[in-house]
Symmetry: C2
Subunit: 247 residues, 2 copies
DNA sequence: CCGTCGGGTTGACGTGGATCAAACGCAGGG
DNA sequence: CCCTGCGTTTGATCCACGTCAACCCGACGG
């Protein structure tokens, strides 16, 4: 890296560490704060952390101290039990929070793993609690975020408990699509960051079943699939498949 | 009801509405508060509400204002989608909280239904947020409760995603057993408050499968089942079945 | 350029649980 | 007391998905 690039990078780091300036503030923080409240926010983040693909952000069993906001990149969280089974419990992208599960016992209960090179802001939980006693909108926003996680989990339970394989995959793809769209990316064309096996684990299916469902969607002209590159050709078709099939 | 009984009942109501006096405080509130903090707690609960078996505590779509602490009785929460499918997302018993899902959008996202005559304390959410800005342990406790809900949901995802029918039922029964035990009831013998169909919905199984699993457990001398009355004969056997089977 | 390797696809077959159907048994009402 | 009805049990059959296995393909290293 040239000296100039290094300098530029340093500036970048300093500027971006301030939450009040962060360009994803609207994703992970409340909006409409007073200027003096905005200033306080900059105490929130203690450090940023870069991770390479495959790195663990935290592991099940580690002491919980911070939650993390994804600045860039892509993560999965999973739970393992002794006998080797594991369940992917979620995929997190830019602006989403990781680590909420650790609050209850002060120990992380799942692993968080970067699926591509990523960057996170570490938010020491005690800071967050302190600040949210002072800034009501922050408190309320945080509660909403936790609640949203609960609602999301209920959605996954619904999916795992009542849907068949192709419905699950359709729901999954539509959800991803919608989240990419919310971040300004194309909702119709994106790269999956996870393997068929990881999708399967999340959806309660085997990787072969996931693969077959992709192939079938392709035959039906609902998708164009090339490796992990997905193009959605017929959103309505996917939606119909999801809500409609079976009684 | 005699006049005396009515009077006694009235006193009972007044005494019990104070959280600081509530005999289930240790279940739903933080412990070790200072006396003046304890006093403030009594602002928390706005009303108590009695429900008959089958009554809705709230419905999906209603405006969210309060969370509810179960004082006595038994509830289920479920989510429905248009096409008729529904998924039971949880069963709640004494000391557990209901309604956390509503915080995110200020609209309840599931139905909460009493499975037996029950009684709840309504905790207006804005009061709770206000008080938890003043009482740090209350704030922290509340965060833990929400986080515990997330962890619980991950457990259910694990169950739905990776376990086979009998493992699911074993896990479910052991969980119930442990929760009864924590409340001072027998962990080995209890009445199910829910139908086979509701168990099935929670576990992602059909009622026939649940019934067969019960019968099989009985053949294996793991349980004695008589209608909804369950006696666990071999806890270790159930545990082994749960963690051990399949790779 | 070829060999290797890991992830993905495809096929053949087996099976756990769903589905369909019948019968049971307890509770509540007449 | 019997009738009715709902929740449950049990049996027979079916099928969606898992399992096992072969093969493909793009990436990467020698």
């Amino acid at each position: 890296m040239s000296k100039n690039a290094a300098t530029a990078r340093l500036v970048f780091e300093i500027v971006k560490t301030a939450c009040s300036n962060c360009n994803l503030r609207e994703l992970c923080l409340p909006i409409g704060l007073a200027p003096e409240e905005l200033k306080k926010l900059d105490e929130l983040v203690s450090a940023r952390r870069r991770l390479k693909r495959g790195d663990y952000l935290y592991r099940a069993g580690q002491v919980f101290e911070s939650i993390y906001a994804v600045r860039s990149g892509f993560f999965k969280t999973d739970v393992l039990i002794e006998d080797g089974r594991d369940q992917v419990t979620g995929f997190q992208m830019t602006g989403e929070l990781l680590g909420l599960d650790g609050i209850s016992s002060e120990i992380h209960t799942c692993n968080a793993i970067a699926l591509e090179d990523s960057e996170v802001c570490a938010i020491p939980f005690s800071h967050l609690e302190g600040l949210s006693r002072q800034i009501h909108p922050l408190q309320h926003h945080f509660h909403k975020v936790m609640s949203r996680e609960i609602v999301r989990d209920h959605g996954v339970m619904m999916l795992l408990g009542t849907m068949r394989a192709e419905e699950r995959l359709a729901a999954f793809l539509l959800n991803l699509s919608q989240r990419f769209k919310a971040r300004g990316y194309s909702p119709a064309e994106f790269n999956l960051r996870m393997s068929r096996d990881e999708i399967g684990s999340y959806l309660g299916l085997k990787l072969e079943t996931v693969s077959r469902a992709f192939s079938h969607f392709q035959e039906e002209k609902l998708l164009a699939v090339h490796q992990r590159k997905i193009r959605i050709l017929n959103t309505e078709g996917l939606k119909k498949l999801m809500t409609h099939q079976r009684g």
